[in-house]
């Protein structure tokens, strides 16, 4: 006869689930509305999603305040873990999503946005990512990851072109493999320690002094491979350019930010204790991974002829750059990771949104992809403002001061310097120099060449509508004046990261 277990409702602390439940409820509401009355305009769903995301944002702000008073909160059988990392991670996810969703209000009609399911899936995906960052339970991480990934595969395929199907299937196959790796790695850790909670695992491993180091390394290898896929670290990156090319530019921009920050938070939780455990092998392998990802992606980006593929490689390189924070592992580095990612989110999403506004439905003669460099030739003559804004995003991504990403780069290199990684700091700096070349390439095309395609000049703004312009304008303003938000942002991030012990 089993003892009855009494669980008081307070101890469950169900409120920790609120941030994830909001988008899930939102998704269900959208589905219900569609059941009751079909054929409604997409603007309704966009605004509904935006409202739910705003509520989500509000609840996160609330949690941030609670965290500053009470510290880390556990809930729901201690599965949920709301600490500083979870809060920043979710904030970045939700804010980026709020910037992304209005991009579907294009002036041209696109297939996928007509379906309410798109918005429902989108909200489910956000909930998945939020689960991923707000727990240290390997199973819940897995569930969140899969929930988000499956929704994302569908979103890509909804773009409804041959390349999109290819992209979705590629991403799905790779994602499935990564999921397999993840579960295998988690299994070994469970076999070793009898726990699936990261902090328990680290405690047990530390207690017996890493005596089973061989098994730990096998587990770590599998986990690293699975996160390598999600973070598109070299050599697990091969899907990235194809998938970005196949999905719509807006979604590609989104994918370069949100899934990665979720994966970074998990990687930070997972590798934090391992890096600090003086396992030389792990440090070395991370070091190699970081350097390879930064450098090779940059070199590949040099030879791309399509702007979107170039940005895809550049986002791989940025991911490698930021991954250095996990290698360095100091509070300063971890805070720099979030700062970098926030500033990068604005610049990168802005750049992809600029591509999104000039996505034509029909390619003109001589154009073999959506956004070849030639398409932007002489943009300064036809649309000076668009050229200036795009140029600004490129300069920001290249790390030119005082625009957005520079501050992230500076903090990141600074943390490498104070973490004792001198050579790494130099490699990071030199990589920024390599990267400058391909960002300049677009600037050269826009500002210094004559127009190549003789077409209607409206082609570069064919999709532009008020909401899109607003989002781009917002990203522009943040990118230019980032110097004024760096200080408060850094203070906020550092407090949260430090108080959660990273």
């Amino acid at each position: 006869m089993l003892e009855p277990v009494n669980i008081s409702l307070e101890s469950l602390n169900l409120s920790t689930l609120t941030p994830m439940l909001i988008p899930i409820i939102g998704a269900l509401v959208i589905l219900c509305i569609d059941l009751i009355k079909g054929g409604l305009n997409k603007s309704l769903y966009v605004m509904l999603s935006l409202l739910f995301l705003l509520m989500d944002f509000g609840s996160l702000v609330d949690f941030a305040q609670l965290f500053s008073q009470n510290g880390t909160m556990m809930g729901f059988f201690d599965v949920m873990l709301i600490d500083g990392l979870a809060i920043i991670g979710q904030l970045i996810i939700v804010v980026s999503s709020m910037l992304f969703i209005p991009l579907s209000l294009t002036s041209k009609r696109f297939h996928e946005y007509a379906y309410p399911e798109f918005y429902a899936l989108f909200l489910f995906m956000i909930a998945g990512f939020q689960f991923m960052v707000a727990t240290d339970n390997l199973i819940l991480i897995f569930v969140g990851l899969e929930l988000a990934s499956l929704a994302l595969y569908t979103l890509i395929a909804l773009h409804n072109r041959n390349k999109s199907f290819e992209a979705a299937i590629k991403y799905f196959t790779m994602g499935a493999l990564a999921a397999g790796f993840f579960s295998f790695g988690a299994m070994i850790l469970y076999a070793l320690t009898g726990s699936i909670e990261i902090n328990q695992i680290s405690a047990v491993l530390a207690a017996d002094g890493y005596s089973n180091i061989g098994f730990v390394l096998v587990a770590v290898t599998f986990l690293l491979a699975s996160f390598g896929f999600k973070l598109s670290l070299i050599p697990f990156h091969a899907w990235t350019p194809d998938v970005y090319e196949g999905s719509s530019a807006a979604l590609a921009g989104y994918m370069s930010i949100v899934p990665k920050i979720a994966a970074f938070v998990v990687a930070m939780r997972l590798f934090e204790f391992l890096v600090h455990s003086n396992v030389i092998w792990l440090e070395t392998i991370l070091y190699i991974l970081v350097v390879l990802t930064m450098t090779l992606a940059n070199i590949w980006a040099l030879v791309q002829s399509d702007v979107k593929r170039m940005l895809a490689y550049s986002s791989i390189s940025h991911a490698g750059f930021v991954m250095a924070a996990i290698l360095i592992g100091t509070t300063q580095a971890n805070s720099a990771l979030f700062l970098y990612w926030v500033l990068f989110a604005f610049s990168n999403l802005g750049a992809f949104a600029m591509l999104w506004v000039n996505r034509q439905k029909v390619l003109i003669a001589g154009q073999d992809s959506d956004h070849p460099f030639e398409k932007f030739a002489g943009l300064i003559h036809t649309m000076p403002t668009a050229a200036a804004i795009m140029g600004l995003f490129m300069l920001s991504l290249a790390g030119l001061p005082p625009f957005g990403v520079f501050w992230g780069k500076m903090y990141m290199i600074g943390s490498a310097v104070s973490g004792g990684y001198t050579v790494l700091a130099l490699i990071m700096a030199l990589n920024s120099a390599i990267a400058a070349y391909y960002y300049l390439k677009l600037i050269v095309f826009m500002f210094m060449k004559e127009p190549i395609y003789q077409t209607d000049k409206a082609i570069h703004m064919v999709n532009a509508s008020m909401p899109l312009k607003t989002i781009i304008g917002f990203a522009t303003v943040i990118t230019i004046f980032s110097v004024f938000i760096v200080s408060p942002l850094m203070e906020f991030i550092t407090a949260l990261v430090y108080n959660s012990g990273y």
Binding site: I413, V417, T422, A429, A436, K449, M490, E491
Partner: protein
């Protein structure tokens, strides 16, 4: 007067933004007025400057990122004051004399933004702020070369950008290390240069940091062997681009040596003095020889400009008051003279659309005024006594003579040899018979061109004859840098190489007292 530096920096930028609204037919007048107001403001700055104070003046400080020690810290001393005035002066005459340019509105707005970054570099006392302006100055120049340049303009502009950008990123790592060492020593982060001056670093740290900063500065100067971007940039840039590049942008590198490398790393400066002097002398001789081999007038001037930058470096690394003050003075002189020479080449290029020397000959009889001004400027460039460059070159060499006699001798001879190619070029262009039909009826310099050339000629002669009004504030500020270096030096050799001014002064005072 308190925030005059902020006004000086951001007035052109704000004017540039507003300039988008101005109609393109009136943009030239708008640009000239803005640049003239800016120049007047820079003269107001000079009026308010107290030449007897050797430290920083017009300081402004607003914290930007307090946790990381980044602040908006401005201030000038005698060294930066005159470069700022020169920058605003060249922008003014550059805009005023802009020839027929396509998309003139874009050009003028770009120039105004460039002016913001130029003044920002010389007025910043915070390393990150300095870095921001330093890097930002690449963008307008990239656009000027890339959009208005010659046939190879894209190659030239991208090369210019990437070269400088790479160097400055290494410098950024150096700056972060410097801030980190400061944090280790004091517990707080700071990028303020004035705070960094107080930090005495162990010698081996100094050597590494010196190397990191050197990489950034040497590419900008550009020092041999990092000079390969410059001939392309000059060769392809439009006249206004070359003028500003030679007159102001290159000075950022040499200025940064005086502002950063010397006072921050005195021991490393002494350690690297001889290798850098060797590089500088190679730079003087080698580029002079390359200049002699050029067919294109603009390339001759570009290489001669590199050659003279070598003298500036030599003077800077003399590490005494004469040398540094001389090199700072030569920065001004070189700016005036090479700016004027590039402008003169632009004048002839506007008329003939070629820069090949073989296309000319006998121009002295066709364009007498042009030939006269060119002659004066060329003599100034060669360093004829009573012209502006003589003062700087003489002081630079005098300063270095105290460190090494042989090296100074070689450098001195090299400068004399340098005169050969300039005179040869002058001969090819201006003397002899007019051989080409097209050259027979070339119009002489017109009023607009006179507006730029007369003031430059006057300055080149006036400061050659009577350099005191500029030289005195420069050497006042230089003295404080040299004294700082002497106080901070730790090795015996550095103490010996860098003069102790306080001691010298008290010594001379006791001597005079004894004489009485």
């Amino acid at each position: 007067m308190d925030s005059i530096l902020t006004i000086l920096i951001f007035f052109p930028a704000v004017a540039g933004v507003l300039g988008f609204v101005v109609h393109k037919d009136s943009i030239r007048a708008y640009g000239i007025s803005v640049a003239a107001i800016e120049f007047a403001l820079s003269l107001v700055l000079w009026m308010g400057y107290d030449p007897n104070v050797s430290g920083m003046q017009f300081m402004e400080s607003i914290p930007l990122v307090p946790e990381f020690g980044i602040s908006y810290l401005l201030g000038i001393d005698g060294i930066s004051l005159f470069i700022i005035i020169m920058a605003s002066f060249f922008t003014m005459i550059g805009i005023a004399t802009l020839g027929d340019t396509k998309r003139i509105k874009d050009m003028i707005i770009t120039l105004l933004f460039l002016q913001m970054t130029m003044i920002g570099v010389f007025a910043s006392l915070d390393a990150i702020l300095f870095y921001v302006f330093w890097e930002l100055s690449l963008v307008p120049m990239l656009y000027i070369i890339g959009a208005w340049g010659g046939p190879l303009r894209i190659y030239a502009s991208v090369k210019f950008f990437l070269y400088t950008f790479t160097g400055s990123l290494v410098m950024l790592v150096g700056m972060l290390f410097m801030a980190y060492f400061y944090q280790q020593a004091t517990g707080v982060w700071s990028f303020s240069l004035l705070e960094w001056y107080r930090l005495i670093l162990p010698e081996n740290y100094q050597l590494w940091l010196f190397a990191a900063f050197f990489f950034g500065f040497a590419i900008k100067v550009p020092m041999f062997p990092f000079h390969t971007w410059l001939p392309y940039a000059h060769g392809q840039a439009p006249t206004i681009g070359s003028v500003l590049l030679a007159a102001v942008l290159l000075k950022m590198g040499t200025y940064a040596f005086v502002r950063f490398s010397l006072p921050l790393f005195p021991d490393a400066s002494v350690f690297f003095m001889m290798p850098i002097a060797v590089l500088a002398i190679i730079m003087i001789i080698y580029t002079a020889m390359v200049a002699y081999a050029q067919e294109d007038i603009k390339q001759v001037i570009a290489y001669s400009s590199v050659s003279h930058m070598g003298v500036i470096i030599l003077g800077t690394f003399a590490l005494n008051v004469e040398g540094i003050a001389g090199s700072v003075f030569l920065m001004i002189g070189h700016g005036i003279v090479s700016g004027a020479l590039f402008y003169l080449v632009g004048v002839i290029y506007d008329r003939r659309h070629t820069k090949m020397m073989s296309e000319f000959g006998g121009l002295a009889s066709v364009m007498p005024r042009y030939a006269t001004i060119f002659g004066i400027m060329m003599m100034a460039s060669v360093g004829l006594p009573l012209t502006i460059n003589f003062v700087g070159e003489f002081l630079s060499l005098l300063g270095f003579y105290k460190q090494s006699h042989i090296m100074t001798l070689i450098a001195g001879i090299a400068i004399i040899v340098g005169a050969i190619y300039m005179l040869a070029a002058y001969k090819k262009i201006f003397f002899g018979e007019v051989t080409k039909e097209e050259n027979k009826n070339l119009p002489d310099v017109n009023k607009r061109e006179m507006f730029a050339l007369i003031p430059l000629t006057v300055i080149a002669l006036w400061l050659g004859i009577y350099p005191k009004p500029i030289l005195e504030p420069i050497s006042n500020s230089t003295e404080s840098i040299v004294q700082l270096m002497h106080d901070k030096a730790i090795t015996q050799e550095a103490k010996a190489r860098i003069p102790n001014l306080v001691e010298e002064m008290s010594l001379s005072r006791t001597l005079t007292q004894e004489a009485h």
